[in-house]
């Protein structure tokens, strides 16, 4: 048995493996982010797409690349790499079957490359929701499937490692960051069953011409089975960092170890059976089921509200330890000169607004006001692009120095980068929310839409300005990371970064039911079956066939 140490170090090979994930993630981000600003600029009346002809054909091709690379590839690649590190560091043991994890990663890489071919050839400009009956090149569906399967395989690698640790440490409780990593993966594996079934039983046979038509509502239902918990797959690794790493970086502790664990278990239980709140305005789903999913969606908001308390309490403890006094003095006392901490604090602030907007979206009939409007991308740029992405950026500000043994290149610039992202996102997402309330549709080049009233123009301009700031911020980020990884100054022995892992403030014992997967997995699957089976059976038995179309 190994002795737990505060500074457990990954092997050079493990570091390289995590590093490869970051290279894949940041490569995707660097291509996907080219197109985000182009959409924002189009809204503001500066349409640059005509200048990209004939390489990139349309706004929609750009929007698809932006969504697939940023929301699916950047996130999934970063998350699997980061969770590999937290699994190894949490358990203080190497992966049980490293080759299994390598296989998972390379399957994911192949998946990304296969997806890229039809995307770049304008043969899959179907947006990242790929709603049928728009029919993409079949390679697009195969590529996405491989990305998901790759992430599954890496997840299996974590479970084997967890099981091996359990055997080696009888009577001990799973270390929190390792547990949180595997819970995230388990949730993801239940969640992605939806899109796997959609692609394998509907889209691929249809794209290959084996069936003439597929039921579109059935496909949507499978898609949103995965589509919403996808958000928690993005968020949970950020939560992991906020709970158990950020307090350490700020000089504090994890406020409540047991609560942090409970929150992750609750996410495993309630993340998946909520998809109908993306289908409130759909025909074919009875309103009673929509209402039930509304209640379930509120239940999944509960662990996020607990997170707000525990994370802020941990930060307050840190701030007070650093000498902060009074009701708000502890906030000022936090290390506002540390770009990794600041990125994550700002991500948390943006997510506060994202969470409130999320409650609005979940609210059954209130959703009628904002469904399919610009509000929705305004909202999820506060979740995936702020809570997750800005946190991930902050994490890489310590992670890349840790993996490479080099010092972060110009931390001041990293600090500026984080604030630029924050300010750009505030302007962009606020404008998008307001436009949505005024009725502006999402995923539409509003610069050319004939029905745009003059009242929207000021907000459309703000979308462009926010997009421009974000554009500079994201490439500043990529530049800083590249400079650090490939040209950074070698850190001396005493300057070496260690993985920040916060100690719990109270070492309260963890009851057995909170340290075993079985009851939670059974509960999660049961809830999914109850929440989905009746509607799915109805949709399957009354299926209506739709042929495919290429309309871009």
């Amino acid at each position: 048995m190994t002795i737990a140490t505060a500074n457990y170090d990954l092997t050079p090979q493990e570091k390289k493996f995590v590093g490869w994930h970051l290279i894949l993630a940041i490569s995707a981000l660097s291509v996907g982010s080219l197109f985000g600003p182009l959409q924002a600029f189009e809204h503001a009346g500066w349409d640059l797409y005509p200048y990209l002809q004939p390489v990139f054909k349309s706004y929609y091709q750009g929007l698809t690349i932006h969504g697939v690379l940023n929301a699916l590839v950047w996130t999934t690649a970063f998350i699997t790499g980061f969770l590999t590190l937290t699994t190894i560091r949490g358990l203080q043991r190497s992966l049980r079957y490293p080759k299994l994890n390598y296989t998972g990663f390379w399957v994911m890489v192949v998946g990304v490359l296969v997806t890229a071919v039809p995307l770049l050839a304008n043969n899959a400009s179907v947006l990242y929701t790929f709603y049928p009956p728009m029919k993409a090149d079949w390679l697009f569906y195969v590529g996405l499937t491989l990305v998901v399967i790759g992430s599954w395989i890496e997840g299996y690698g974590f479970y084997f490692t967890m099981a091996a640790w359990r055997k080696e440490h009888p009577g001990e409780t799973y270390p929190f960051i390792a547990l949180a990593s595997s819970v995230t993966m388990a949730m993801w594996q239940i969640a992605t069953l939806g899109v796997a079934i959609e692609i394998l039983t509907l889209l691929l046979p249809w794209a290959w011409g084996m069936v003439g038509g597929i039921d579109i509502q059935l496909a949507r239902t499978y898609f949103w089975f995965t589509g919403h918990p996808l958000v928690y797959f993005w968020l949970l690794p950020a939560y992991l960092s906020w709970y158990a790493m950020l307090p350490k970086q700020a000089g504090g502790k994890l406020f409540s170890d047991s609560m942090a664990r409970l929150v992750f278990w609750l996410f495993l239980l309630t993340s998946v059976p909520v998809g109908f709140h993306h289908q409130y305005v759909d025909p074919g789903v009875p309103d009673s089921w929509k209402f039930i999913h509304s209640i379930l969606t509120y239940s999944v908001a509960f662990p996020s509200m607990l997170t707000a308390f525990t994370v802020i309490a941990g930060l307050e403890y840190a701030g007070r330890k650093r000498g902060g006094k009074g009701l708000f003095g502890w906030i000022k006392a936090l290390p506002w000169d540390d770009p990794s901490v600041v990125s994550q604090l700002l991500a948390g602030i943006l997510f506060f607004f994202g969470g409130i907007g999320g409650i609005t979206n979940a609210s059954y009939n209130v959703n009628l006001v904002i469904h399919n409007t610009a509000w929705v991308p305004g909202h999820f740029h506060l979740t995936v692009s702020s809570a997750a992405t800005l946190s991930f950026m902050g994490i890489t500000y310590w992670l890349v120095p840790y993996l490479t043994g080099r010092k972060l290149w110009k931390p001041k610039w990293a600090l500026i980068q984080a604030w630029m992202w924050f300010i750009g996102m505030l302007i962009f997402s606020n404008a998008m929310h307001v436009l949505g309330l005024l009725g502006a549709p999402r995923r539409t080049p509003l610069g050319e839409a004939p029905y745009v009233p003059a009242e929207w123009n000021g907000h459309l301009l703000r979308v462009g300005i926010g997009g421009a700031i974000l554009f500079v911020a994201v490439y500043l980020y990529i530049f800083i990371i590249a400079k650090t990884a490939f040209g950074g100054e070698k850190a001396s022995e005493s300057e070496q970064v260690t993985i920040p892992v916060a100690e719990p403030l109270h070492a309260s014992p963890i009851p057995a039911w909170m340290d075993t997967f079985k009851p939670w997995l059974i509960g999660a699957v049961l809830l999914v079956v109850i929440a989905y089976a009746p509607v799915l059976i109805d949709l399957i038995t009354h299926a209506v066939g739709s042929p495919g179309f290429r309309v871009w």
Binding site: Y60, L127, Y131, P133, M134, E172, T173, I216, Q217, F255, S256, S258, M259, L262, V281, D282, P283, G284, P286, D287, K290, F291, S294, Y298, S299, F302, M305, L306, F309, I359, S363, Y364, N365, V366, L368, V369, H371, N372, G439, P441, R443, T444, L446, E448, A449, P450, Y451, H506, S508, P509, P511, A512, D515, D538, V544, S546, P547, F549, V551, W552
Partner: protein, 164 residues
């Protein structure tokens, strides 16, 4: 590991848990009352049609889309969504009319949102989306396609003229 069945929770955290739960319960009651007592309902029709014949079959109301008057001030309107237009593109009703919309698509998915109203529906080939609205104020109400439906999507809209 211990056999202690419950976890320790900070008293402040307990209060926060109660507040969080309380808020969520209040929210769900509010939307429930709005939905089931005040009639702010969602489109949830389970009517299915064949998307390949819905526009041509003479028995299909969408083979001849448009407005039908059921009684004075009471209308139904069948709208066919297709790339990249709504048929009909313009509807005129007198102020105070109650209008029920039946919308379906003969090709890809579309959206149907009438500005300044609560009418907001996903249009799915094979399914009929329906909602009812009372037009109390005269004016022009654009209805726009809110779901990506191909290269002409941004130009897809129509309008309801409510005459005084």
């Amino acid at each position: 590991m211990t056999t202690k069945p419950i976890i320790e929770i900070d008293p402040y955290e307990k209060t926060w848990m109660r507040i969080s739960l309380g808020l969520l319960v209040v929210f769900i009651i509010m939307v429930g009352v709005a939905g089931y007592a005040l009639g702010f309902q969602l489109p949830a029709s389970e009517t299915r049609v064949n998307p390949q014949t819905v526009a041509t079959d003479p028995n299909s109301p969408w083979s001849n889309p448009g407005l039908r008057e059921l009684a004075p001030g009471k209308y139904e309107v069948y709208i066919l969504a297709q790339i990249w237009l709504f048929n009909p593109r313009e509807i005129t009703v007198p102020v105070g009319s109650t209008v029920t919309f039946y919308v379906t698509s003969k090709d890809v998915q579309h959206g149907f949102k009438i500005q300044d109203t609560n009418i907001n529906m996903q249009i799915i080939p094979g399914y009929v989306s329906t909602l009812t609205h009372v037009f109390d104020k005269p004016g022009e109400y654009p209805y726009i396609c809110t779901e990506y439906c191909g290269s002409g999507h941004a130009a897809m809209f129509g309008k309801i003229i409510v005459e005084p």
